[in-house]
Symmetry: C2
């Protein structure tokens, strides 16, 4: 593949945006990224979105957005891989640019979740699970994660409070991220006493949904010099893998095999090991997913992901800072947009734009976006050229 | 781009498949294509689908299908561009293989429309239109097409019966296609007297929905010799373009600008003109779309697409045979699958596998798949190497 670089980024604040429609939120992020890139047109738009058919009665979202953004006639498509849709759109765009068919690609992750009328967001999110073999039993998506977390606590002997550092770290970092949804710090005390959602997952184990969009402009590396930002950011690794869609079909429900395989693919493509990664934007939809992700990606032994939190290794200055802009937990989780937010945040770190939460001297950043209960996993590694 | 070739195809009969689930139908077509290709695994699955979140409560369909097909861990993603989803998945796969990142890609178009419970298929299909500016007014998707057809008849002076040859030709060809949904011939008489749906569109102007899946295996051309079929089929042209999503936003509602632009892009990439195309699988969701498509792609002057039908030029042996396997009208239109059926049918023609409806000496075939009311259009040209 020819090398692909990031020419511009854009994002909206994640919130309940009652006064902005789906197209307005998407258009804002897309045009911010194009403005930063100095482009008035792109060859193609790749939209990552999961729920617009269910929440907004809108399919064909790619075409809707190029129309709205004043990019009429531009090629556009939507990519869906549940909560992994954002990174899936990024990877599709990456391959399109690498192929030579597309010179300038706009990747746009977007979700507008506040508008749910006549449906229920929990039901909509449950479409990420197996409709015939999981949902038919009446379980929700958080319910599936709760079963996994309980099993993890049982098998490896951890208490619920041991997961607190993941959420505390995410909230502490989000305080400094103007685009984050929850910018208040939390304590171990508040973590332990927040409302129970689905035992053992309580409110502060879980990421909030929200309305938001994030965007990235990708171009071949050779186009960067004449119009790029000072620090050149390139895509070093990209890989996608899947697992059984239903958790109960897995030999070992505590091993995220797709996360493991996609991380290994990304490491191999980049020619690096976990030791080389300076920061990791992981998919902390629930605290249990942070632990499992760190283990699958080679940052911790099986059952020991929680220890990285307890030993402060996931914080700024630690061995592997995660959720440096707040993660899903505090930046927010507008599901189909999340994967693009993660990549935007990695770019901000590599450019040195993160002020109070800057990882000093960051040269390689990783983002991992997960669809379903570890069913579709995409890992990307970006670096300073 | 490196050249990409077709290594295998597969399809299911389009019908109301009450005894087969979404995954069973998709798996059947996918495994047929892989068997024909002689592959037990592929690097990635690209699924084209529009309605599974709305009809089957199922997102993350790519992952569901690789899981079901015994291809666990394989990369998978779903692409959506309304009724253009099938060809959009094909184009994504094409670019992925061309980039060198993917060596063997399975493209799978699938739709299961008979299971609608608690929703209404008409409402689900309407998500292809602009939810805020078209659907809010209460119009359906067929209603939008009816307005366009009425305007065409008014502006160019055609009668409803002048559209009959499109449907008669499609039904005549479907008689010989074992995978087609409607295998009965129709007459000008039955065309004129079928039930009115949305004036002037009657039942025989409109394509039937259905349950079905079609699949194609794509590989780099250099992989063909050691495992391909005798006649080597390569992708010569591919282009995608969009128009305003709402028809009322177009300067000229009778010009399919996206069809025009994507056809021109495909001609240019293939280095051919409309005169070189031996057969054309067009998107005859409604008879009016056949006329507009033929005009946009350069086979007829503005307002004269209907004449090609009246003069028998769209039939076998005519200037530009269309819907040689029955088209959307009679083969059937399982929306997200249609674009892949079209490509499978072009491959069958180029291989010379179409018996009674074979286009003699076909060397170049074109397929055009349309999402929404001409809003997203993908054109592909395939040829014998």
């Amino acid at each position: 593949m020819r090398q692909v670089a990031v020419l511009g980024i854009g994002q909206t604040k994640i919130a309940e945006q009652w006064d902005h429609s789906l197209r307005e939120i998407g258009g804002e992020a897309g045009l911010l990224a194009m403005n930063e890139a100095g482009l008035e047109r792109v060859d193609a738009l790749f939209v990552g979105n999961m729920l617009s058919p269910l929440i907004d009665d809108q399919n064909q979202l790619g075409t809707l957005l190029v129309d709205w953004m004043g990019l009429r006639q531009t090629e556009a498509v939507k990519i869906e891989a549940a909560c992994g849709s954002g990174a899936a759109a990024f990877r599709s765009a990456l391959m399109a640019v690498a192929s030579g068919e597309i010179e300038t690609a706009l990747v746009l992750g977007i979700e507008k979740m506040s508008d749910m009328v006549g449906h229920d967001v929990t039901s909509a999110l449950a479409t990420a699970a197996d409709a015939d073999y999981e949902l038919e039993q009446g379980i929700s998506f958080v319910g599936i994660n709760a079963l996994v977390m309980r099993r993890y606590m049982h098998q490896f002997g951890w208490k619920h409070r041991d997961f607190a550092p993941f959420s505390i770290n995410a909230h502490a970092n989000a305080v400094h991220n103007p685009w984050a949804r929850l910018r208040e710090p939390i304590t171990a005390e508040s973590f332990e006493h927040s409302s129970m959602i689905s035992t053992p997952i309580n409110l502060l184990d879980a990421s909030p949904t929200g309305d938001g969009a994030a965007a990235v402009v990708l171009v071949p590396l050779e186009r960067l010099p004449r119009m790029g930002p000072a620090r050149r950011i390139v895509v070093r690794g990209s890989a996608s893998a899947t697992d059984t869609i239903a958790v109960h079909s897995r030999e070992d429900p505590l091993l995220l095999r797709a996360a493991q395989r996609s991380a290994q693919g990304a490491y191999q493509m980049a020619g690096v090991t976990p030791q080389d990664i300076d920061l990791f934007e992981l998919h902390d939809a629930f605290t249990i997913m942070s632990a499992l992700s760190l283990e699958a990606c080679g940052f911790a032994e099986r059952g020991q992901g929680v220890r990285l939190g307890l030993e402060h290794q996931i914080e700024l200055g630690g061995r592997i800072p995660v959720c440096t802009r707040g993660g899903l937990k505090a930046r927010g989780h507008p599901v189909g947009a999340t994967g693009v937010y993660q990549i935007v945040e990695v770019v901000q770190q590599l450019r040195g734009e993160c002020a109070q939460t800057q990882v000093d001297g960051a040269k390689l950043g990783m983002a991992q976006n997960i669809g379903g209960s570890g069913a579709t996993v995409l890992t990307h590694i970006l670096g300073v050229e």
